[in-house]
């Protein structure tokens, strides 16, 4: 093509976007060089390799096992270890995402392992963004790259979750709930960082919202939470949500074509799995708070503990429901507890690394003016509670000063009470 005689071609050349920046180019080249060094081209022709492999490993399984061992050895040594904890901009980050993580991905065989791993990768991208934001180094370009990688992993996780749900609904419910709660926590963190210099978060928030909207069909009714006296019984119908605490996709045994007796066993098993997960998450969050209390301050720690009190109440409620053979409602209570505990863990860790107070709302007036501006897929009408205290403790009268203050959880500023049926109650909890 002769550009001198083709003005249209010249026009397009002028319209061409900028090429790779020098740093981007050298980083990409280094990554590809590492990749090719790690995976060299075999010296023997393929046919000869196949013949040798068959002679050494008559059974294909032994060959696979050997490959797994070799990969495990690589993953556990040297470069792989050194690349852990790296973030975009670090020299070995390309090795981490281009070499180490794909190897680890290849080692995940079961749907459960694959789903959990892809969720781990997705959350890992968000953690990297948080780390960079704490250093004032989360640029728009880096943020977009992380958002793209996050979206890919989240999509892979969604695909794996569908398979896993059929095979192990209890574990699928736990993973789905914990994952959604983590994302909700990070979304809160990123939205709170919107105006902080060196912390571009718009693309990440959009990516999380896109994931939530795609995952909407998997979620059951949302529940409302507020701090209550654990010994008090609250009545009322499920209404709206404090937060996109999507209930786990509790498997319907009837949908799986099982008998009534088997259905009850399956539902109980799911509830027990959720119970274990909720209790563990609660304990983990308590431990995290205790660990970082001196860093985040007593006020933040107290507010976090207050929310965990709500989670504890939900666990106790679920345990009571289990005793009274209402496994479905118990599952929902445990889901609430797991969601709160997981989200609090994310917020408290972010509070430590980003030096923010995640429980002070700098945009209270904005949300009060438009309480239905939730970005999460609400599945029910919102009914403001007459009780105004909130699980996230909107500090409407306490300006937060210069720190990046986070908004309260998504949705309503005045979430309704946690609903739970105790013996003798007539109304069904959580809108059932």
């Amino acid at each position: 093509m002769d550009n001198d005689r083709d003005p249209f071609a010249n026009l397009f050349m002028r319209a061409a976007p900028e090429p790779l920046a020098a740093e981007e180019r050298s980083r990409m080249r280094a990554t590809l060089s590492e990749y090719s060094a790690f995976r060299p081209i075999p010296s023997r022709p393929r046919a000869q390799r196949v013949a040798v492999a068959r002679a050494l490993f008559p059974s294909g399984r032994a060959a696979v096992a050997s490959a797994i061992v070799a990969c495990c050895i690589f993953v556990s040594t040297g470069i792989a270890f050194a690349s852990e904890g790296t973030v975009p901009g670090d020299l070995l980050y390309g090795v981490k995402v281009g070499v180490v993580e794909p190897i680890q991905t290849a080692l995940m065989f079961s749907p459960q392992a694959q789903t959990a791993w892809q969720q781990t990768l997705a959350v890992r991208r968000l953690k990297e963004a948080t780390t960079l934001a704490s250093e004032g180094a989360l640029t728009k370009t880096t943020e977009e790259r992380l958002a793209v990688r996050f979206s890919r992993s989240a999509q892979q996780a969604a695909v794996g979750a569908k398979t896993q749900h059929a095979q192990d609904p209890g574990e699928a419910a736990v993973l789905a709930t914990a994952f959604s709660a983590r994302l909700a926590g990070y979304q809160d963190v990123f939205e709170g960082l919107r105006n902080r210099a060196g912390a571009s978060t718009k693309a990440l928030v959009a990516a999380i919202e896109a994931r939530n909207s795609n995952a909407g069909s998997e979620n059951l009714a949302e529940v409302g939470i507020m701090p209550v006296n654990p010994n008090a019984a609250a009545r009322g119908t499920v209404a709206g949500s404090m937060h996109p605490l999507e209930a786990a996709p509790i498997a319907s045994a009837s949908a799986m074509g099982t008998s009534a007796a088997a259905e009850s066993t399956s539902t109980v098993r799911i509830a027990e799995r959720m119970h274990t997960a909720a209790a563990e998450a609660l304990q983990t969050s308590m431990n995290v708070i205790a660990l970082v209390e001196s860093s985040v301050g007593s006020t933040t720690a107290a507010q976090a503990r207050a929310q965990l009190d709500t989670a504890r109440a939900a666990v106790q409620q679920g345990e009571a429901l289990l005793v009274h053979h209402d496994a479905t409602s118990a599952s929902r209570a445990f889901t609430v507890a797991l969601s709160i505990s997981t989200r609090i863990e994310v917020l408290v860790r972010a509070a430590q690394s980003l030096k923010i107070d995640p429980f002070t709302d700098a945009t209270t007036s904005e949300r009060t003016a438009n309480p239905h501006a939730s970005t999460s897929p609400a599945t029910g009408p919102s009914v403001p509670s007459s009780e105004s205290t909130t699980a996230t403790g909107i500090a409407s009268s306490t300006p937060h000063g210069k720190s990046a203050a986070l908004p309260p959880a998504h949705g309503q500023p005045n979430p309704p009470a946690i609903q739970g049926r105790l013996p003798g109650d007539l109304e069904s909890p959580f809108g059932l």
């Binding site: 093509m1 083709d6 026009l11 061409a16 590809l32 090719s36 890919r152």
Partner: protein, 176 residues
Amino acid sequence: MVQSAKESYLEAFDLYADALFRHAQLRLPSRAQAIDLTQDTFIKAWDYLRGGGTIHHWKSFLYRTLNNLIIDEYRRSKSDSLDALLEADLADATARASTGSREELEAGFDAAFALERVHAVLPQLPDTDRSVIVMRYLDGLSPHEIADVIGISENATSVRLHRALGKLRKLCEPFA
């Protein structure tokens, strides 16, 4: 001295990385995705070599690989349905705008004005049209090379290019 595979590979990177990246930028919604797919293109190329394949023509191989990755990306983000809608909307415009030779269509663009408009309207084209325009006028691929990349005949490539230019001109007309 025979060049090693790795030397050829890295030389191909030095030669084509920027061009592939610019191509990807014009077809993808974000710069970040363009960087990722550019890197993925070279990773796939290495995997191909490692699997016993031989690459005789790096340029067409890399463009073909990138093109497939971009198509996969669109399928993943369900953009195909949007492209299809746009395709349908432009059907009438295509019929009207495809009159005249390619030279006449190209000359119809006011250079100074269209530069700005190209940036604005190019993303509005369906990817199937955008890809041939970018490959021809940005990447400098011949119709034969483009046909090789996207897997259609050279004749069909020329037709698609002609129609894509017509659509591009039609999109630019509201700004004239």
